[in-house]
């Protein structure tokens, strides 16, 4: 049985592992191999190009700066909401994660509408100060870090909040009983214990910022970063150079990952207790007023991008020029989305491609999680690695790998022509969402008592019956939540799409960009609102499924 069981595990695992090797590993290997197609020629080209050196440097600078900016916002906000009670706390808590509901490109556009040269806030400041020109330009490193801080501080906030919630209040009480002052407790007890949460979220921000494409692409100006350089090289037909740039980007991401792991290596403790700490009510009237005003400002800053996109979605295309706010409003933008075939097309494209990708995630990630959690077989560690890998590889690199691999039919080298067809984008979405769905299912399955499977077999259940009646129900909360979130990210996906799309299968994000370039702000905002609504809807659905699990 033991042997037979292992053999069965291996038989289920083998096709899954082969599929992942083919779709996740092989394209990246193809890129690395491709970078050497000319010997060291393309690498010399890369090293000699000032543009590429600048791009690598800028990418790293932006990533590190994004980490610090996100920490600077996320950590204090988590403390404020986790430790203190003040009027407006619940509202602030409710909107604190809202930036996460903006698809990457939409966030960038919202910032353009708000803080761009002709944006709402820019114009207001300009009028108030009576300046003849915009007080700032939303360009370059600072602009990119600004957007990153807004969208990525959420990771820090969520991680640190969770850490604070699990924080054992008696540790703090013990420290104060031993005579430690508030500052000493913070420095010697609270912060060290929160370090794992801080480090984990910092890594997440770093990886996201390094792979970020939308912000540099839309308002990088003349600025070069690696992800945009890759697309530029590919568009210019300099494929070899694109391969080198992709390899460098991937290596940077992986070294960042390893560096964080190494820094975090000494940690041997976990925060396991149920917190149970009461939030301190702010008593002083003045501090209370100040806190509430501060909270109100933050709430407005957090909600403004969403509101602005909604507002602009009702603006008639082409009429918003030098005014503070768009002068004319209409439902025309929405009507056109649903009535004009050319505008409706991207919506059906995105939805159908997301459905295909998510269906793939559903099957493959369920099997992966089941194998990882419950089975022992040769190759389990490999499977774990394969499932986590797409997370460590920037989306631009994934997309370029697919472009380099699935560009012709050649069965001998396991290549199939997918580039230019419908299937290449669903494949890219599928790969990007593997870690998300698999870890959600793993979470559910790990809550399941492993002896349930034994119990079902002992009662005479076949493998299929055990799967259907015991494993699937246990996996369902994570499976549903993971797939909803995967579907939502796939519908709004931009970074891989921009490398791989064709006119026929253009997704919503590419149409938003196209409308923006045509200065049809209203139409692009209407698409964006659709995406935001979809994200909110799916996130709420996913959350209600996750709550069932608890």
């Amino acid at each position: 049985m033991k042997g037979a069981f292992r053999r069965q595990s291996f038989l289920i695992a083998l096709p899954v592992i082969l599929l992942l090797l083919w779709t996740v590993v092989y394209p990246n290997v193809a890129v690395i191999v491709g970078s050497f197609e000319d010997g060291l020629g393309h690498w010399r080209e890369f090293a000699a190009s000032p543009a590429d050196r600048e791009a690598l440097w800028t990418s790293l600078v932006i990533s590190v700066a994004s980490v610090f900016a996100s920490l600077a916002i996320g950590v204090p906000l988590a403390f404020l909401l986790g430790r203190f009670d003040f009027p407006g706390r619940r509202l602030l808590r409710a909107v604190a994660t809202l930036p996460a509901a903006l698809p990457p490109l939409v966030g960038v556009i919202a910032f353009l509408f708000l803080y761009g040269e002709s944006g709402l806030i820019t114009r207001i400041v300009q009028r108030v100060l009576g300046m003849s020109e915009a007080p700032w330009r939303l360009k370059g490193v600072s602009a990119i870090v600004f957007v990153h801080a807004y969208t990525m501080y959420v990771y820090v906030f969520l991680f640190v909040s969770a850490g604070l919630e699990r924080f054992d209040a008696t540790l703090d009480e013990a420290a104060s009983g031993l005579g430690a002052s508030t500052a000493q407790r913070l420095r010697r007890v609270t912060l060290p214990l929160l370090m794992p949460a801080v480090a984990g979220s910092a890594l997440l921000v770093f990886m996201n910022a390094l792979g970020s494409f939308s912000a540099p692409y839309v308002f990088g100006g003349g600025l070069r970063v690696l992800s945009t350089q890759i697309l530029a090289s590919k568009t210019n037909g300099a494929l070899g150079l694109a391969y080198v740039e992709t390899t460098v980007l991937t290596l940077s991401a992986v070294s960042g990952l390893l560096l964080f792991r190494w820094l975090d290596r000494k940690r041997k403790y976990t925060l396991a207790s149920k917190g149970g700490r009461k939030r301190r009510v702010i008593r002083s009237r003045q501090v209370q007023i100040l806190t509430s005003i501060g909270a109100a400002v933050i709430v407005i800053a957090l909600v403004l991008p969403h509101l602005m996109v909604v507002l602009v979605s009702f603006a008639r295309d082409g009429v918003w020029t030098t005014q503070v706010l768009p002068p004319e409003y209409t439902l025309e933008n929405y009507r056109r989305l649903f009535s004009e075939a050319e505008l409706w097309r991207p919506i059906t494209n995105s939805v159908s491609m997301a459905l295909v990708a998510t269906a793939g995630n559903l099957v493959v990630c369920f099997l992966c999680a089941y194998l990882i959690v419950f089975r022992k077989f040769a190759g389990r560690r490999l499977l774990e690695l394969l499932v986590a890998l797409p997370w460590a590889i920037p989306a631009t690199a994934i997309a370029l790998g697919l472009a380099a691999t699935f560009n012709r039919n050649d069965l001998l080298s396991a290549r199939v022509l997918l580039v230019g067809t419908f299937w290449i984008l669903p494949l890219a979405y599928f790969i990007r969402d593997i870690p998300l769905v698999a870890s959600a299912v793993e979470g559910s399955l790990r809550q399941m008592d492993a002896s349930l499977e034994d119990a079902a077999r002992g009662l005479g259940a076949s493998w299929m019956l055990t799967m259907r009646r015991v494993i699937l129900p246990a996996a369902r909360p994570g499976l549903v939540a993971g797939c909803l979130l995967a579907a939502v990210t796939a519908v709004g996906e931009f970074v891989a799409s921009v490398v791989l799309y064709t006119h026929a299968n253009r997704p919503i994000s590419m149409e938003i960009l196209a409308q923006l370039r045509a200065l049809a702000f209203g139409t692009s905002a209407a698409y964006s609102v659709l995406l935001i609504l979809l994200v909110l809807l799916m996130t709420l659905a996913a959350r209600s499924f996750e709550e069932r699990l608890a």
Binding site: K2, A456, L459, G460
Partner: protein
Amino acid sequence: MTAAPRARGGEGKAGAGVLALNGVTRRFGEYTAVDNVSVEVGPGELLALVGASGSGKTTTLRIAAGYESPDSGTVTLGGEDITRVPPERRGFGMVFQHYALFPHMPVEENVAFGLEARGVGKSERLEKARAALVSVGLAGAGGRAIQSLSGGEQQRVALARALVIEPRALLLDEPLSNLDPTLRQAMRDDLRAMLRRVGVPALFVTHDQEDAFAIADRIAILKKGKLLQVGTPEELYETPATPEVASFIGRGTMVSATDKGSTATVTIGGRTRELAVKRPQGTPSRYEKAFVVLRPEALELSNQAGDASWPGRVVNRRFAGGVIVYRVELADGIGVDVESASGNAHEDENVGVSPGKGPFPIVPG
């Protein structure tokens, strides 16, 4: 110990077969979890596998159930070799340590699951499940959610689920370990009665000798994967085969002795006494080196240290229901517990301890 002792099968109801492990060994890498273990459980018999954690008792049970396969040795039921039969085709009823009830199914679906796996129609299997629930004292609980059950109720559901498939053998992994002490006392009797009624071999694992004494007909003691001894509770108590068994089963102090066959001499503080001794069948009639086990109830306490007794000093006095247990320090650093019905000795008092008429257990040193 050279050969592992082999258990006798109980004489049970006709028709059901004897469950036997024959020289079963299971290794995990370098580590031998189960080492050449042989036990037999007859129909209607309750056998407890007892040992500390890491003794291999759970692995032994999992081999019997089919979740582990032995590296060598066989598992037979009624003489039929089932070593390679997977658990889903063994038809055994198993009760897991944490019960392994399916959290997403109501009680009756849990109980009916084994019948569902056997293709029994829905109304029939639910009917049988409800009948099984009645038999474990949970009439009317069929529609309840697993999460709403107490620990004791969950245990009964797990038992009902194992019984409803009319198992050919019953296996229970620490069936009482998740219950609180008072419930545990009550459940022991219930469990024994319910297992008796089924009339199939029942094998259960426990680390608690009181559970084993209360439920089992016979007890198998495991240590580091090896079977030390199998026997009725009385046999293990009166004639342990090894020092480990003697110390695991009941209280008592082991003192070194000179073995003379049916008697042995014990010298403490220069005073030598000759005691009647008893050993299990099939063991050598004389041990080279030997220990005699001085059980508290086999010793007598006197206020005066006479010629017939070992002198000592009471260091602790503890009331234990109908008797008083005295901890007495004898010479040579030997301490013994003595049970006495009279409570007139007090702490720090000098007393005499003399052995009763025995026979005393003797084990090899």
